[in-house]
């Protein structure tokens, strides 16, 4: 029945039932022209200005990393009992930001959410750069980063192996797998677009470079068939991977016995928070890119609306987790547990706690309103506030749990030094520098995917297959 109905449907240009995902009704060639054109045109002065600011920040951060390594982590404000401070806060924050990229590229692909095509490429790039920034922090925190390879199981003269019972070793496996798989997934998705750029650019050197990286992709139907399966499999394995990575990061805390860390709620709580913060960062980046590169036709208000809904949903999950932590502490009857949570909200770090609650629980409530979800300025400010709030969430979890532990005699207070602040600013610089380079030299929107969702880009009739 269904098949007959499809065959009998005449081709008419009906009003689309849903809001269009690409505005301005572009042809296939317009899409190529618009997106590959970004790569081909020389950068504007705005671009050089931004790049020099971010590059300067990155250089300063790298200098401070060098200073830390050369001098020792005594140049940081860490003390006993607060042995984890900004470094691990930044690590968890950056890793979390990466998660939205995988969520958009993998999970939304599996759910057939076609609106993802406008933002998946930049979100995946963001993932890779965020994980690179994240990975720096535990390495520097080692104190002797030149021994970082001791974290890997390899045969050595000491006849020692890594301790697979430790969550810190799981973390090494989780984060390095995550980075590797994200790069593979991103590159696979890029192949057809690199080929498009290869055939689009005229200048010799860019043509040679894009030829090399497109591996000779020609768009053969037999290749597309394998490509689509490969993409689907990578999406299918990335989906549990992204959930596992932040779960494993949360084990770093949850497997210890410290009140405030030793909680079963941590894995889902961390994953929800990661997606929340990641979407905030995607919004920040995408809104800037949309404005600078004039991509309003591809990144529409509908995309922003959808992302704000996810922000609202995950923000409330995080809010629920905050409340549940307090409830469980109260219900446990354990005085240390109760003290930690009371101290978290009303102790020396109470200001950080309430900043977190305001940014992560109160601010997303704006997005119940459709008008605000579609307001670019409100969205941009809210996304920055959520980024700040999620940074404070990690700071609160790490520092407020550590600074008052079991023995009042060993209580302390922690504040960062200029070196820690500089390294954090430096990773922001590294992140935005890499993102700017990406936005200029790699197709920032998945060209082939956008073409595939244009109206009438797919066959309308059912063609009977020859026997």
């Amino acid at each position: 029945m269904a098949q007959i109905a499809v065959e009998a449907t005449p081709r008419v240009d009906r009003e689309p039932l849903r809001e269009s995902l690409v505005l301005g009704n572009p042809t296939l060639h317009d899409v190529t022209e618009k997106i590959a054109g970004i790569v081909d045109r020389p950068p504007t002065w705005k671009y050089w200005l931004t790049l020099s600011v971010t590059g300067l920040a990155a250089a300063w951060g790298i200098f401070c990393i060098g200073y830390t390594i050369a001098t020792g982590i005594g140049v940081w404000g860490l003390n006993n009992p607060v042995a984890w401070g900004w470094d691990i806060t930044n690590f968890v924050w950056w890793i979390g930001i990466g998660h939205a990229g995988t969520l958009i590229s993998a999970i939304l692909h599996l759910f057939r959410q076609r609106w993802r095509t406008a933002i998946n490429r930049s979100a995946e790039a963001m993932t890779i750069f965020a994980v690179i920034c994240a990975g720096l922090f535990p390495l520097i925190h080692l104190g002797r980063p030149w021994f970082a390879y001791w974290l890997l199981p390899y045969p050595n003269q000491m006849y020692m192996w890594v301790n697979f019972r430790s969550p810190l070793v799981w973390d090494v496996f989780a984060v390095s797998t995550y980075l590797t798989v994200s790069i593979l997934f991103w590159y696979l998705g890029l192949l057809p677009d690199l080929a498009t750029v290869r055939n689009f650019v005229q200048r010799r050197l860019p043509k040679a470079i894009y030829s090399f990286f497109s591996l000779g992709w020609v768009g053969a139907a037999r290749h597309w068939q394998h490509y689509e399966i490969a993409y689907l499999i990578l999406a299918a394995i990335s989906t549990p991977l992204v959930l596992s990575v932040h779960s494993v990061v949360s084990f770093d805390f949850a497997v210890s016995i410290l009140p405030g860390w030793h909680t079963t709620i941590f894995p889902p709580y961390f994953v929800a928070g990661a997606i929340f913060s990641g979407f905030a960062m995607v919004l920040t980046l995408v809104l800037i890119a949309r404005w600078v590169l004039n991509l309003q036709d591809f990144i529409t208000l509908k995309h922003i609306d959808n992302m704000n809904r996810i922000l609202l949903a995950t923000g409330m999950m995080v809010g629920y987790a905050y409340a549940m932590e307090f409830f469980v502490a109260m219900y446990s009857g354990n005085e240390y547990e109760r003290y930690v949570f009371f101290n978290r909200a009303f102790g020396p770090y109470g200001w950080a706690y309430w900043t977190m609650v305001f940014c992560n629980v109160a601010v997303p409530q704006l997005f119940w309103s459709r008008r605000l979800r579609r307001n670019v300025v409100v969205t941009f400010i809210a996304s920055i506030l959520v980024n700040i709030g999620m940074w404070f969430e990690r700071f609160v979890i790490i520092v407020s749990s550590l600074h008052h532990d079991f023995l009042p005699a060993s209580w302390g207070y922690y504040a960062p030094t200029w070196v820690e602040v500089s390294i954090y600013v430096g990773t922001l610089g590294i992140f935005f520098t890499l993102f700017l380079l990406f936005a200029k030299y790699v197709p920032i929107i998945a060209i082939s995917e956008v073409k595939a969702i244009l109206p009438r880009s797919q066959p309308q009739h059912h063609v009977p297959v020859a026997a």
Partner: protein
């Protein structure tokens, strides 16, 4: 340049996905086997119309995943319980519970590599030279054109008749590509 040119393929371009699909069905009905379609994005139903078999890639991925799982289990069990058993807090030398995170990560890692390498192998990529790359109409396949190419190695291939078939099937810019 007096070297004799060898015919490689007859190509025709399409702009409309429906016409393309219809043409592919007809080409197949006419008995051609060695033909390929080049498109800027995957077209729904094209592989059925071309009569392609399902990709074997999932088996390669599955193999990779199992290899990863096996590696992870073997690594954790052998290093912890056989080669150098070390008592840490009285925890067992090996137990499946604590091995889960690393098992999972290595399964995913090996699956990903198997998938990408398998994909490249099935597509015979990288291949930095294409016989057709100097044909402008062919290069448009990464932009906005669907290119049907009937190759000269097909037993039914004849420059005149194949050209006529593509023209009858509504292809634009039907041409012989030589090298």
């Amino acid at each position: 340049m007096v070297a004799k040119l060898k015919p490689l393929a007859v190509m025709g371009n399409y702009k409309d996905p429906d016409a393309l699909l219809q043409a592919v069905v007809e080409i197949r009905k006419a008995g051609y086997r060695y033909f390929e379609v080049y498109t800027p994005y995957p077209i729904h139903g094209l592989e059925q119309a071309m009569g392609l078999r399902r990709s074997r890639l999932p088996y390669i991925s599955l193999f990779g995943g199992l290899a990863g799982l096996g590696t992870a289990l073997l690594l954790q069990w052998w290093t912890g319980a056989v080669d150098y058993p070390l008592n840490i807090g009285g925890k067992p030398f090996f137990a499946w519970e604590f091995s889960v995170p690393v098992n999972f990560e290595l399964t995913v890692l090996f699956t990903a590599f198997a998938t990408v390498i398998g994909f490249l192998w099935l597509c015979r990529l990288p291949r930095w030279y294409s016989d057709y790359q100097h044909d402008t109409g062919f290069r448009a396949a990464t932009d906005d054109t669907f290119v049907v190419s009937i190759e000269s190695r097909d037993p039914l291939f004849s420059i005149e008749e194949t050209r006529a078939l593509l023209e009858r099937l509504g292809a634009e810019n039907v041409r012989l590509v030589e090298a």
